[in-house]
Symmetry: C2
DNA sequence: CTATTTCCTGAAGTTAACTTGAGGTCAAGC
DNA sequence: GCTTGACCTCAAGTTAACTTCAGGAAATAG
C-alpha cells in the first residue's frame, strides 16, 4: 500500500493535521478510511495539498481554489495536464494583478502632488473612475484655505 | 462651526455610520461631542477617512494604517507633509509588492514545465528558497512512474 | 499487556473588518 | 407637543482560515 496517514501527510505537506481535517470539510481534499476509521491518503494527495498551499501563496482564497478544482472536473489527482492548465491560468491572473498594482502606483504618483483624495474626483479613491455629479474640480493642497 | 455629524461624515466619506464608530474604537479617527453627546467632526476628518479607505485599497490592514498614523505622530489631521510622506512610503511598498509578484510569476513559469511542487526543492513552494536536507532532486512529471 | 502516541468527532475560540440588532436618547418638522 | 429621523451604547452575528479543546478509540512500542 502506498497509503499514508494524516499525520504523515501533514508532516510532508508542512501543514497541521487539523488543517487537513479542515480542508476535507471544505471538500478540498478527500480520504479513504481504514478498518479503524482512520484516514488514509494516496501519496498523490501530497501534490494536491502542495497545489493548495501554492495557490494560497499566490493570493487565492480556499473558495477560489475549490472552484478551480471543480472546474478542472478533478476529484482526486492533479496530473500534468491539470497542473498545466492551472498554472497557466494563475500566470494570467498574476499578470493582471501586477498590472492593477502598477496602475494604482501610477495614480498614487499623480496624487502625491494633489492629495485631495476626493470621493468625486480622485482616481485613487474611485475604483471605477466614476465622476460624481457635482463636479467641483479637484482641490489642491495649495488651494486649501481650510487648512 | 464647520463641524459635521456622523451621518454627514459617513455620507461624504462613502462609509456607514457603524464603520465610523468602529474606526473610532480602533483609534483610527477621533471626535468631539456636542451637548447631547453626539459626535461632531471637523471637516478635515473627511480626508482622514479617505486616506484610510485608499490605504485599504492598496492592501494595507487597519492595524498597519493605525501604525502609520502613529508613526506620523499625527492625531487628527493629515496635512500636506504627512500625505507626502505617507504616499511616498506607499509607493515604495507597492513597488516591492509588484516585484514580489513578478518574481512569483517567473517561478511559476519555471514550474509549469516541472510541476513537482516539492516542499524541499520547489522555489514556488518554499518562500525563502531554503533547501531541505534530504536533497533527492526535483521530480519531473515525465519521470513520475507513480502516476 | 499496558503505556504512549496517533486519530476521531464535534464544538468553541481567534483575528479582521465590519454589519445587525436591541433598547433608549436627541433634534427637527409641523 | 408630538412624531419621526438621526444618534448613542453595547452585544452579538458574519466570513475566512484555521487552531484549540474535550472526551474517547485505535495503533504501536516495549
Amino acid at each position: 500500500m502506498s497509503d499514508i496517514s494524516v499525520g504523515q501527510l501533514a508532516q510532508r505537506a508542512g501543514v497541521s493535521v487539523a488543517t487537513l481535517h479542515f480542508y476535507e470539510q471544505k471538500d478540498l481534499i478527500h480520504s479513504r478510511r481504514n478498518a479503524g476509521n482512520q484516514r488514509r491518503y494516496n501519496r498523490r494527495m501530497l501534490r494536491r495539498v502542495a497545489v493548495i498551499k501554492t495557490a494560497q501563496r499566490l493570493g487565492f482564497s480556499l473558495k477560489e481554489i475549490a472552484e478551480m478544482f471543480r472546474e478542472l472536473g478533478d476529484d482526486q489527482d492533479i496530473d500534468k495536464d491539470n497542473w498545466q492548465r492551472l498554472s497557466e491560468r494563475w500566470h494570467k491572473i498574476l499578470t493582471e494583478r501586477i498590472n492593477t498594482l502598477e496602475h494604482l502606483r501610477d495614480e498614487l504618483n499623480t496624487c502625491i502632488g494633489c492629495g485631495c483624495l476626493s470621493m468625486d474626483n480622485c482616481r485613487l479613491r474611485n475604483p471605477d473612475d466614476t465622476l460624481g455629479e457635482q463636479a467641483s474640480g479637484p482641490v489642491l493642497w495649495e488651494d486649501d484655505s481650510q487648512r
